[in-house]
């Protein structure tokens, strides 16, 4: 009686193990932090107005990311998503310098992707997640305080890039000039 119970357990366990082996390797879910940051990017696209002349008429919004591995598959949710009349195309770049060639409308520079100064390109929203990103020339920086992800905006830089930031975004941004 006991033996058949053990046999049963082993059979079930073995079957489950085989089934588990058959499952595709699980990609770990992106950490919550990057899901939140991806969602922020989506909100920035919605609440900022780009100058019309930086769009080529193919209806695409180019979202470029340097250091995309951190997001895992969080960005997949936006790939192909339509918003504000355009389709979001996600581009994974190696270096910020590649942004111009890709006609990026939004360039996200992950931590560890360089610390050099950034120029202001017309129609390109630069978003970072490192201390001092705005001083480098970035426009929006995602900062974490007490476990919450917030953002700060350099309004002058945004204006220089021809971007119109909605008052809603400005009101929620961390106080900065």
């Amino acid at each position: 009686m006991r033996r058949s119970n053990e046999l049963k357990k082993m059979t079930v366990g073995g079957a489950l193990l085989m089934l588990a082996a058959a499952l595709p390797a699980q990609t770990p879910a992106p950490p919550l932090e990057y899901q939140v940051k991806a969602s922020y990017l989506f909100n920035f696209i919605r609440f900022i107005t780009w100058p019309a002349d930086v769009f080529t008429g193919d209806g695409k919004f180019n979202l470029c990311v340097v250091g995309a591995e951190r997001f895992g598959n969080a960005l997949n949710a936006f790939s192909g998503e339509r918003t504000e009349g355009r389709t979001i195309m996600v581009h994974r770049l190696e270096r910020p310098a590649q942004a111009r060639a890709s006609r990026c409308h939004l360039l996200f520079i992950a931590v560890g992707s360089g610390t050099g100064p950034l120029g202001i390109e017309r129609g390109m929203l630069t978003v970072g997640e490192t201390r001092g990103f705005l001083e480098r020339g970035g426009i929006i920086n995602l900062v974490e305080t007490r476990g919450h992800i917030r953002f700060e905006i350099d309004r002058a830089a945004a204006e220089e890039a021809g971007l119109e930031v909605s008052s809603r975004l400005l009101s929620l941004a961390l106080g900065r000039s």
């Binding site: 089934l19 499952l23 939140v36 598959n73 007490r146 992800i149 002058a156 000039s177």
Partner: protein, 707 residues
């Protein structure tokens, strides 16, 4: 090319507020918060489910109204087989797996800012999933409605009756039994109860705060007995103020008008240390008298108030909030013997609330407050000190059970001054109430069926031990819909006035006992598209032992009435265009009160002719341009035959202009359709004197400067 750091920057955007674009205004929390649109995967089906949370209620502790919705937690898997089984299940039920993950396309900025990327133990609680008749007014809703007081804001909520008695008094109730001293409603501000135990009702004239500081008002219709205790018989109104972090910087507002004579407020918030935020405020208002056909209205009010809130969020696990207010003012009235008086209101409170996340699955909170009232009313003067302590413990023993439990102790001591005509005996008394509650939210079928069972047991000085049970069942067939049903029981304990009333030397309250209600509710909520949702709630309430008076004013008070009430409440919101939002709220109420004997009178609103059958509120909020807002509220309320108050329709119009980002100019016309109309009266049965005035058409202008 590097940026020129020497360039002048624009002025810092004012912290805490700038006008949000209409389409972003929160309203009911994005109902699709957790939901993937059908057919659109947000994550691969076999990704482990992250645990995330967005606290819906700033006041942790017992006064979280929402049952917790547990989702599968692979971290609690008990063994290899269980873990694999879960993985297999998540593969074979991809839609279920997606349902519990974060729908990052639907989160609003405010929600993103609130997500705690550290703690994983809290629960996501969008309004959409709550198995109760709940309605949330956000700060934006209140601002666009251009109201100047809490009772006026409550007019927008289905199921709530708000009738203005005079320029400084309101009768507010939920699901019937409305009266100036309506006693079947519990109102809380940040977890502090503001009903007066003297008569179990709320004196709205002295319960005031800066509406700019209100984060949201949650209205839950139906007995709230389990979590809040006796007196929440027909519903609970939970007013939640903003965290001090969200009110940084300064705000000064001032306005004047024909009815809202003059009002002003100032508030300043700052961050003394990295993890602490403080705000202080002061406000003052004066209102004009209402309209009286005899021309003798005496109901002006002036009221001053000041207070503070201090928040401390230690890294990760602890949070502490301390707040306090003091107020002082006068509200005039015509007494029911025809004379007039200026009633003095004074008081203050101090509250501390501490919450700790003990582990991923356990949290503890402790709240203590002291509240003082001094009511200088010649008919019933009151001095009262209340001390209240509550401890709440929430934990998730298994993935399918989330339990909230608590203990409470309340001590309220008063000194009442009456007159020869009417007084209380004893004139000084201290009432103590001890209570305990427990509530379990059980996930029967993950993402589909949830059962909530709970009960509260309370021991008080009037009626001994009371049990108030509550059972709720929720079915979410798909992410866009929920059906729920509930059965609950609640009790209203006799107030001090009822139990100890002495008129002409005779004690009238010796036979008074509790009122009870059994409530059966059913509701349905549906997100039709991402721009349109609706919410329907129905109820059938059975009341027993309702308070009755009569046959004469010297007869002892009795509880010899039963009632059956039923009704439907419908709410809907339609974001017609990104700049234009429409809200509708319809209430239908039927009351059937049966008196044991024809010469008795149902007391305190227990009369179907004192409550309207139909109410309809339509709101429109339109962003005409980037800086110009146009708002309108149209309301219809059915007649109140008992008071000879006819049905009325009224219209409010508001114009908001932002000449600069930090300056808001508002021009509002209220009650525009009639020169004046009555909403509620108080008729003294013996003298026949009618008090109460009519609401007049009025205009006010307001300037708000945020810096």
């Amino acid at each position: 090319m590097p940026k020129d750091s020497g360039k002048t920057r624009n002025k810092a955007s004012p912290r805490g507020f700038t006008r949000p674009k209409l389409r972003d205004a929160g309203g009911q929390r994005a109902p699709a918060l957790l939901r993937a649109a059908p057919g659109v995967p947000t994550h691969p089906p076999n990704s482990p489910l992250p645990q995330t949370s967005i606290p819906l209620c700033n006041t942790e502790g017992r006064h979280r109204p929402l049952p917790r919705f547990d989702s599968q937690s692979p971290r609690l898997s008990l063994g290899l087989c269980a873990g694999l089984a879960l993985a297999i299940a998540s593969v074979s039920l991809p839609l279920n797996a997606q349902l519990a993950t974060l729908d990052i396309k639907r989160l609003t900025l405010e929600e993103l800012m609130e997500i705690d990327v550290y703690s994983a133990g809290r629960r996501l609680e969008p309004v959409h999933e709550v198995p109760s008749a709940i309605y949330v007014l956000t700060n934006e809703d209140i601002r666009r409605a251009r109201v100047t007081s809490i009772p006026e804001a409550l007019r927008l909520v289905p199921g709530v009756q708000v009738a203005r008695v005079d320029a400084n008094k309101w009768a507010v109730s939920i699901r019937g039994f409305n009266s100036r001293i309506a006693n079947k409603l519990l109102v809380l501000i940040d977890g502090r109860s503001i009903y007066d135990p003297l008569f179990s009702g709320t004196l709205w004239e002295s319960k005031d705060l800066m509406l700019e500081d209100v984060e949201r008002i949650e209205v839950i219709r139906g007995p709230g007995g389990t979590l809040w205790g006796a007196n929440a018989v027909n519903g609970v109104i939970n007013i939640i103020t903003k965290h001090a972090r969200d009110t940084g910087g300064g705000l000064i507002s001032a306005g004047a008008g024909t009815e809202e004579r003059a009002f002003g407020a100032a508030r300043y918030g700052w961050q003394p240390r990295d993890d602490q935020w403080v705000r202080v405020y002061a406000k003052s208002l004066a209102r004009d008298t209402g309209f009286s056909p005899a021309g003798n209205a005496h109901d002006a009010i002036h009221m001053n108030r000041a207070g503070f809130r201090w928040d401390w969020d230690a890294r990760g696990n602890d949070s502490l909030r301390v707040s306090g207010d003091v107020y002082s003012g006068e509200a005039d009235q015509t007494n029911n013997n025809g004379t007039t008086q200026d009633v003095g209101h004074k008081g203050g409170n101090l509250l501390a609330h501490w919450r700790r996340q003990l582990s991923d699955t356990q949290n503890l909170s402790v709240q203590f407050y002291y509240d003082r009232i001094e009511l200088d009313n010649l008919q019933f003067g009151e001095k009262r000190n209340t001390y209240d302590l509550e401890i709440q413990y929430g934990f998730t023993p298994t993935p399918r059970h989330h339990i909230v439990s608590g203990l409470g102790y309340r001590n309220t001591g008063d000194k009442i001054a009456g007159t020869a005509a009417g007084t209380l005996d004893p004139m000084r008394k201290t009432d103590r109430t001890e209570s305990a509650f427990v509530q379990d939210t059980i996930t029967l079928v993950p993402d589909h069926w949830r059962l909530t069972l709970g009960t509260k047991v309370e021991s008080n000085d009037y009626s001994g031990v009371e049990w108030q049970p509550n059972a709720r069942l929720a079915w979410t067939p798909d992410p866009q819909r929920i059906y729920w049903a509930a059965a609950s029981g609640a009790t209203r304990v006799p107030s001090r006035l009822e139990a100890d009333l002495v008129i002409g030397g005779t004690r009238l309250g010796d036979d008074v006992r509790d009122e009870t209600v059994r409530a059966y509710e059913f509701g349905h909520r549906r997100l039709v598209t991402s721009n349109l949702w609706y919410d329907i709630a129905t109820f059938y309430n059975v009341y027993r032992h309702l308070l009755t008076t009569g046959p004469t004013t010297l007869s002892p008070l009795s509880n010899r009435a039963d009632a059956r009430t039923y009704g439907i409440e419908v709410a809907s919101r339609w974001q017609a265009t990104p700049s234009w939002r429409l809200d509708a709220a319809y209430t239908y109420l039927q009351m059937d009160v049966r008196l044991d004997a024809p010469n008795l009178t149902g007391a305190i609103g227990a009369n179907k002719k004192e409550n309207p059958h139909h109410q309809l509120t339509l709101r429109s909020a339109f962003d005409m341009t980037q800086n110009l807002e146009v708002d309108a509220t149209l309301r219809f309320v059915d007649d109140l035959p008992a008071f000879d108050v006819p049905a009325y329709t009224t219209l409010d119009l508001g114009l908001g202009w932002f000449p600069r980002r930090d300056l808001e100019l508002t021009l509002v016309g209220q009650n525009l359709l009639d020169g004046h109309h009555p909403e509620q009266r108080l008729v003294n049965p013996t003298t026949g004197v009618t008090t109460g005035t009519e609401v007049q058409r009025g205009v006010y202008a307001k300037v708000t400067w945020r810096f």
